[in-house]
């Protein structure tokens, strides 16, 4: 059969196909030998749904049909599945639709048109990545973002925690503190300068926030350019497929969507003691604080607490950290304690095994004076202290309690507000997904949320099957001496494999840059954990030293490739660097051998 050349023939064929689509609940264009077509036909058989099948390979003018279908749907391959006049797609799309419930919905005739293909709740790293990717794949997408001001009234723009009150300002302020050390070192390297060096908080704050302003705008522009509809309003479910959006003027609008992604993130937790919300600040307030915080008490030993306490001390402020039990829960404790000790030797005071019970204002001001009363976790001892600023950093709560999840039937862990999902970020409600910090048992890291969001959109709308890999995620804590890690902590490795089956190699080291200023000798520390049962594969990587993020990133890639101890040993080091220490680790922790370093 030759291709149809004239338009009349073409139009006739198109009408024929359209009639088939319109008159059958399920219409499948197939080829009799194609295994994917068989899979689809079997699915409908299994569902006991009658479907009309046209085997194109058994028809005289089958190729013409296929050409016309390409023109009509943009899809060349078979099977092509239509349910209640809607083009579902090929085999993968049909199976996916079956899995997430949208096929059942199409079959039941509930073809009510939703306003959007996808609504993403939360304009942070994960939500933005997911919404932009979905729009790129041709879907109609809306993203809603709304920042509820802190008790102190702090608020910010589009982009979520990382951009506004997390990674970005944190690292810039950490850099500010590192520069102070560099200035001190500079004299030892021969730089001569007379003026006393001072730091101006407001200059730093303004510069940092100007940069953030440009990022907020950049996100807004990229949503426009990628045709994602953005609404600055608070979203909550009123029905499984419907949300209510309330803007800052209190105006309510309702939107519906076929699918939803929850990406609402977390906010700092308060203590629930007298005076905490009235007088204390959190990391949500710190980075845009209009005045220098002065003498500061940091409550908590989370990474947020140690990073903030660290850079405040680096700016020359009097900083105390009040710790209930341990530093950096969940991280390798050997490393956490070393990072803490370094802070202590650089003037940060630690009050251990105490919890605050009351905060009182002695004097208002910018900053004012606060009195903190704290109680021992072990005895009846009560202590009091006076500070200009009290920063609470005792953890974060998932923002899942006020978004109407009960109305949508989404299951939430009542203990921590986190949302359990399967390995495809799907909640118990098939058309609702969740990504980012609100996931139960997953990393609370921006790049993880971005990756999960992107891959989710590609699976939903791009026919991809790639899932987000939450294993061997590298990360860095920007304490004054930075701590980079990838894989398992020593505690976790011991728990999983048993002490006898792991080998820990470690070493202290002295960065060349520290030698001339003669500081921090034998403070930096490198450690890897190897699985003896698996070819000495590296299952834990830990680095305490300068530029930890830069060092850890590459080793993270190596671990993704399954690097072994032998492969690290045969890697040539770059001299003189800190990272080269990982190519020459030969002392095991078990041996108790000397790990102090001297010379080349």
């Amino acid at each position: 059969m030759p291709p149809i050349e004239n338009d009349t023939g073409k139009n006739e064929l198109k009408t024929q196909i359209q009639q088939l689509i319109d008159s059958n609940q399920v219409m499948v264009f197939s080829k009799s030998y194609c295994p994917y077509c068989v899979q689809v036909k079997d699915l409908f058989k299994e569902l006991k749904i009658e479907c009309n099948v046209m085997e194109l390979d058994l028809m005289e003018n089958g190729t013409n049909y296929q050409e016309m279908l390409l023109e009509m749907t943009g899809q060349r391959t078979v099977p092509q599945v239509f349910v209640n006049k809607t083009h579902v797609g090929g085999c993968d799309k049909t199976m996916q639709a079956h899995k997430d419930g949208s096929l059942q919905q199409l079959l039941s005739g509930e073809t009510q048109a939703y306003d959007y293909d996808l609504i993403v709740i939360g304009g942070g790293s994960g939500g933005l990545a997911c919404s932009k990717e979905a729009a790129l794949l041709g879907k109609k997408v809306m993203v809603l973002d709304f920042v509820v001001p802190t008790p102190k009234g702090t608020s910010w723009g589009l982009g979520g925690t990382c951009v506004n009150v997390g990674c970005i300002p944190k690292k810039l302020m950490h850099q500010t503190a590192l520069l102070a050390t560099a200035i001190q070192d500079a004299r030892k390297f021969g730089w001569e300068f007379d003026e006393s060096v001072k730091h101006n908080w407001e200059t730093m704050k303004t510069a940092v926030n100007n940069y953030i302003g440009s990022l907020n705008w950049g996100y807004r522009v990229s949503l426009r350019d990628k045709k994602v509809e953005y609404v600055n309003a608070y979203a909550e479910f009123v029905e499984p497929h419907k949300i209510k959006a309330t803007n800052k003027r209190g105006k309510e609008t309702f939107y519906t969507a076929a699918r939803f992604v929850l990406a609402t993130g977390e906010r700092p937790r308060y203590l629930g003691i007298p005076g905490d919300k009235e007088y204390c600040i959190t990391s949500d307030d710190l980075f845009s604080l209009p005045y220098c915080p002065g003498k500061t008490l940091v409550i908590g030993a989370s990474y947020v607490a140690l990073e903030c306490g660290g850079f405040l001390a680096g700016l020359g402020l009097d900083v105390t950290v009040m710790v209930r039990s341990i530093l950096l829960r969940g991280f390798d404790q050997d490393m956490a304690n070393r990072a803490g000790e370094h802070m202590e030797t650089h003037g940060v005071k630690f009050i251990r095994k105490f919890v605050p019970i009351k905060i009182e204002e002695l004097e208002a001001g910018s900053p004012g004076r606060l009195k903190v009363t704290a109680k021992s976790t072990e005895t009846d001892e009560i202590i009091e202290g006076e500070y200009n600023t009290v920063l609470i950093a005792v953890g974060r709560n998932a923002c899942t309690d006020k978004i109407g999840l009960d109305k949508a039937g989404v299951r939430v862990n009542p203990k921590n507000g986190k949302i359990p999902v399967n390995d495809e970020e799907q909640t118990n409600v098939p058309h609702i997904y969740a990504i980012g910090d609100i996931l139960e048992g997953k990393w609370e890291l921006t790049p993880v949320a971005i990756q999960a969001g992107k891959l989710l959109a590609r699976r939903l709308y791009g026919g991809s099957a790639v899932k987000c890999d939450y294993i061997n995620v590298p990360t860095t804590v920007f304490t004054p001496l930075e701590y980079g890690a990838c894989g398992l902590s020593e505690e976790k490795a011991t728990e999983l494999y048993g002490q006898e089956n792991i080998e820990v190699y470690h070493s202290l080291f002295w960065p060349l840059e520290f030698t001339v200023p003669n500081r921090d000798n034998n403070r930096c520390y490198a450690k890897i954990i190897c699985n003896k049962l698996d070819n000495d594969r590296v299952i834990g990587f830990h680095y305490l030293g300068p530029n930890a993020g830069e060092v850890t990133q590459g080793f993270g890639a190596a671990m993704k490739c399954g690097a072994t101890k032998e492969q690290l040993d045969t890697t040539i080091g770059i001299h003189p660097t800190c990272a080269e220490v990982f190519t020459t680790l030969d002392v095991t922790k078990r041996s108790g051998g000397d790990i102090t370093q001297s010379g080349c």
């Binding site: 926030n209 100007n210 302003g213 440009s214 705008w217 522009v221 990229s222 350019d225």
Partner: protein, 170 residues
């Protein structure tokens, strides 16, 4: 050495490259900006022939107005009888702080034949998004409600004069 390199970079940086871009290039733009903050005005005044009597501060203030909201924009920009230059700017954008006064000066010279509106893109995001603003400063020229011309980034006094002249059809 480092200083010399920096100086050379500023010199080769053409003035209209100075603007705040969103996305990753923003870092580059703003870092080169901070160092050139001081050098650019000097260079501009060095290049530009000095102008006869400086426009007084009081008249400068009357030259432009801040757009209050969408309605205000419709009334005073779209429905304006005069051509209007709209200066989309942001608090966090350094180059905007240089361009704004220069543009006011250029507009003032036209003695009431062109108006100037200022739009803070963070306060009036919808307007900026609607008019396709991606980087700041962006200046659009409107006549009879239509956009007739636009530019992005910094321009020197001469360039601004000719831009404004073109808009009013001189």
């Amino acid at each position: 050495m480092a200083h010399r390199f920096l100086a050379r970079r500023i010199w080769t940086l053409s003035v209209n490259e100075l603007r705040c871009l969103p996305s990753s290039t923003a870092t580059v733009a703003s870092s080169s900006f901070s160092t050139s903050l001081h050098s650019v005005p000097n260079r501009a005044s060095f290049l530009a022939p000095s102008r006869s009597p400086a426009v007084s501060h009081a008249s400068l203030r009357r030259v432009s107005f801040n757009v209050q909201d969408n309605e205000d924009f419709t009334e005073r920009v779209i429905n304006s009888d005069l051509p209007v230059l709209v200066d989309f700017h942001a608090q966090w954008c350094g180059p905007c702080k240089i361009l704004g006064p220069r543009l006011e000066k250029a507009v003032a010279k036209k003695k009431g034949r062109v108006a100037m509106a200022k739009v803070d893109i963070d306060d009036h995001t919808d307007l900026a998004i609607e008019y396709g603003v991606s980087a700041v400063p962006t200046v659009i020229a409107m006549r009879g409600g239509d956009v007739v011309d636009r530019f992005v980034g910094i321009k020197d006094d001469d360039q601004l004069d000719s831009f404004v002249s073109k808009v009013i059809g001189q």
